[in-house]
């Protein structure tokens, strides 16, 4: 395997290509920060039951969508014009995936905000809110870790993502247990069912972080493998 950090002195035409690659990487990191902000804001909306925050999340998704489309178009142009191979090829295909994962993370923040908005007048359970806050804290750490691993080409950090996902999965599965005690109150139950969907959205954010880490590993090693396999959990990794 060639060292992915290896960068001999480029020729002029290739220098423009290198600059474009660097710019795309900066953009995807900015997109990651924007997507994380949206998730944090959406969950803060839940904690504060704040309609204004929900609106900000829904509007804020436009910025992430702009990043997504811009990055996608520029990657396609580089494929057409620069015929990337080797590390460049792996970098651009990884970036293409990471771009889509981050766009989906932002969409999940929007889903959380919309669900929160739809139940804003219903009675709430602080236990469930705390549960969701804990989950979102883990999911946000996972997104940050996966994009940090990308920035640093850090294989060790990338391979930690599946174990970071385990507590998130456990908390998601525990949501039903948190809902059952309040099922007698029909209005609160209606709210809690919405929160159950929110829990699933946050759990999915963790899955996207793991998928980003898989792309980082592919970039570094040149061999693609899934860290986890939902249909064959015993064969994972």
């Amino acid at each position: 395997m060639a060292d992915p950090s290896f960068r001999p002195r480029p020729l002029n035409v290739r220098r423009h290509f290198d600059e474009e690659l660097r710019e795309l990487e900066i953009k995807v990191q900015a997109m990651s920060a924007a997507a994380q902000d949206l998730v944090a804001q959406a969950v803060r909306g839940l904690v504060e039951n704040n309609s204004q925050l929900y609106d900000q999340v829904i509007q804020g998704d436009d910025e992430v969508d702009f990043y997504y489309l811009d990055i996608e178009r520029r990657i396609v142009a580089l494929f057409a014009l620069q015929t990337p191979v080797a590390t460049d090829l792996r970098f651009l295909t990884a970036l293409l995936h990471i771009n889509l994962h981050l766009e989906r993370v932002a969409d999940m923040a929007v889903n959380i905000a919309k669900i929160g908005q739809s139940v804003v007048d219903l009675p709430r359970s602080q236990v469930i809110i705390t549960h969701l806050s804990e989950m979102s804290g883990i999911a946000l750490k996972m997104i940050a870790a996966s994009t940090d691993a990308f920035a640093r080409r850090d294989m060790e950090l990338a391979t930690k993502l599946p174990s970071m996902d385990d507590p998130l999965d456990r908390l998601n599965r525990g949501m039903m247990r948190a809902i059952l005690p309040i099922s007698d109150d029909k209005r609160m139950l209606q709210w809690a069912i919405g929160m159950h969907t929110v829990s699933r959205q946050i759990e999915r954010i963790g899955d996207h972080a793991v998928d980003i880490a898989e792309q980082v590993a592919f970039l570094i090693t040149g061999e693609f493998r899934e860290f986890t396999d939902a249909s064959h959990p015993d064969k994972a990794g």
Binding site: A2, P10, V85, A86, T87, T221
Partner: protein, 287 residues
């Protein structure tokens, strides 16, 4: 006519029998057709290429890529002893063809070149008719039976028959560059070789003619083993199964020697090269 009237690989080479017995075509597909061991070429005592070791599989296309002066053409010419024609050239190491040392004392280089044909960068048809361009080589090689059928078979094999069947007596030089190159491929196929060497066969052609040559290579590998030297990395990526990357090492006194850096399945070499020199070359960062 059958797919191949009489493959030269079924014609006994005028050399000792291959160690494992039987004809080469009886061998398993996986057995290398060439085993190259520590091959070097000297011109006037100076090493032009050194230390090439590789196994070339049959019915595959093997591409040789690398910067100018790395010895790609010198290397490919070792496979049919074409370097013998250069008085100052000498060979070190071994090229085993179906287990037989191509440079062994009993081996006739002319016989070698009938088994291992070659197509060059610039189409070089004879200034004769299309028909004669094929028939001439057949006669020289004593393949005088059924010449008309052999000519047609060769032209069909080179995907040229439909374009020239009505004008076989026309001068070959009236053909387009791409057609001339396919005629040269037909000329190579006519004597029923086992291997076809191609030294930049499409570098003088436009993209349409290049595509036809590449399509042709894809179909020819069903029956032949192909080695191709190309400057066009995307062509190597498109057509080949295996790729060899050569580079140039420059000594303190300025002497340049070609070395084999990496030899790998083409997909692997273009997605995940093992050597940073390969990475630098194929990504265009070799300044």
């Amino acid at each position: 006519m059958s797919k191949v009237m009489k493959r030269s690989s079924e014609i006994t080479l005028d050399i000792k029998p291959v160690p494992t017995g039987g004809t080469p075509d009886d061998r398993p597909e996986s057995e290398p057709i060439f085993r190259v061991r520590d091959l070097g070429v000297r011109y006037g005592g100076l090493l032009a290429v050194r230390g090439v070791t590789a196994d070339i599989s049959r019915n595959q296309i093997t591409a040789i890529i690398g910067p100018s002066g790395c010895g790609k053409s010198t290397l490919i010419r070792c496979f049919n002893r074409l370097n013998d024609l250069i008085p100052a050239a000498s060979i070190e190491g071994q090229v085993l063809y179906h287990g037989v040392d191509l440079y062994g004392p009993a081996v006739d280089p002319v016989e070698v070149r009938r088994h291992i044909g070659m197509v060059f960068q610039k189409p070089n048809p004879f200034p004769k008719s299309i028909y004669e361009n094929i028939a001439f080589g057949l006669r020289v090689n004593g393949m005088t039976d059924d010449i008309d059928a052999r000519v047609e078979h060769a032209l069909q094999g080179a995907a040229l028959w439909d374009e020239v069947k009505g004008k076989l007596k026309s001068n070959a030089l009236s053909l387009s560059g791409g057609q001339q190159q396919r005629l040269c491929i037909a000329r190579a196929l006519a004597v029923e070789p086992d291997v076809i060497l191609m030294d930049e066969p499409a570098s003088a052609l436009d993209p349409v003619a290049t595509s036809r040559i590449e399509d042709l290579m894809e179909s020819l590998k069903e029956d032949y083993t192909i080695l191709i030297v190309t400057h066009n990395m995307q062509q190597a990526a498109r057509v080949s199964d295996m790729t060899a990357f050569l580079t140039v090492e420059v000594s303190d006194d300025g002497h340049r020697t070609g070395v084999l850096v990496e030899f790998a399945p083409t997909t692997e070499l273009f997605t995940n090269p093992r050597d940073p020199r390969t990475e630098a070359y194929i990504t265009g960062r070799f300044g």
